[in-house]
């Protein structure tokens, strides 16, 4: 099955980003395809490469970049939501790109299931 994913919450305040990540890993392990993860609302903060969690904690931003690199997943940050929150090209972690909400709607059309992770 082909999945599209929507992440609506920031990387640490809320569990949504963690749950989305583990869902994607489990889906890939079972041979499903994840074609895009779209980051919206405070979810755009998942793309901030300036994030420096403590050494003994998971690195949420780095984890997304690794997922994109290893599985070729398209990580898209909503431009309108990103600009409001100061997320710009110069602070994007590897594997992320900034684009419009049309990418989310397109994901809903192209994927067999669009799964929303949020509050």
């Amino acid at each position: 099955m082909k999945f599209g994913i929507l992440v609506n919450e920031g990387p640490f305040q809320h569990q949504a980003a963690d749950t989305a990540y583990h869902f994607i890993k489990a889906a890939l392990d079972r041979g499903h395809e994840v074609h895009r993860v779209f980051f919206y609302h405070d979810g755009v903060n998942n793309a901030n490469k300036l994030s420096e969690p403590q050494q003994d904690d998971r690195n949420v931003v780095h984890r997304w970049s690794k997922l994109a690199e290893e599985h070729g997943i398209d990580l898209v940050v909503c431009v309108a939501a990103a600009l409001r929150r100061g997320i710009k090209d110069e602070i994007l972690a590897p594997g992320f790109r900034i684009s419009g909400l049309g990418q989310l709607v397109e994901s809903g059309i192209q994927a067999d299931r669009l799964v929303v992770f949020g509050d």
Partner: protein, 135 residues
């Protein structure tokens, strides 16, 4: 058009696919940004010629409340945007009956014409959708 749709060339890339998109609005209009940013997705979806509907339930029914005065909280009153949805060919607006009643509201208190449905009827509609986005 590609600027509006985030670089997606609608005709070429989705090839006439029409899916049923339902946007579920559950939160009060101010206090969190979900309602405002959720509405932005609804407006973009109109450019893709999909079968779009909106549901308002829980505190989401307050998004449609008439007479919103936001000056004192220094927030933009975006409730007039709901009246513009018709211009985007988005005219399936459903409001959950139970949520209205719990808050002492009726359809007359809302800025747009809506269809009031019970939770059970909304659940049925939801089950028929291809894509459900909840904000």
């Amino acid at each position: 058009m590609s600027e509006v749709t985030g670089g997606v060339e609608v005709e070429e890339e989705i090839g006439g696919t029409v899916k049923k998109f339902m946007f579920v609005n559950r939160k009060a209009p101010y206090g969190t940004i979900y309602a405002l940013e959720g509405l932005e997705v609804v407006l973009i979806s109109a450019a893709f010629d999909q079968d779009v509907s909106l549901v308002f339930l829980d505190d989401g029914v307050y998004q449609l409340k008439k007479g919103q005065h936001t000056k004192a909280v220094d927030m933009k009153n975006f409730s007039p945007t709901y009246r513009a949805l018709e211009g985007y060919d988005i005219d399936k607006l459903y409001v959950e009956k139970e949520s209205l009643e719990e808050r002492g509201l009726t359809a007359d208190d809302l800025v747009v014409d809506v269809e009031v449905l019970t939770a059970e009827e909304i659940a049925k509609l939801m089950a028929e959708q291809d894509v459900v986005l909840s904000f």
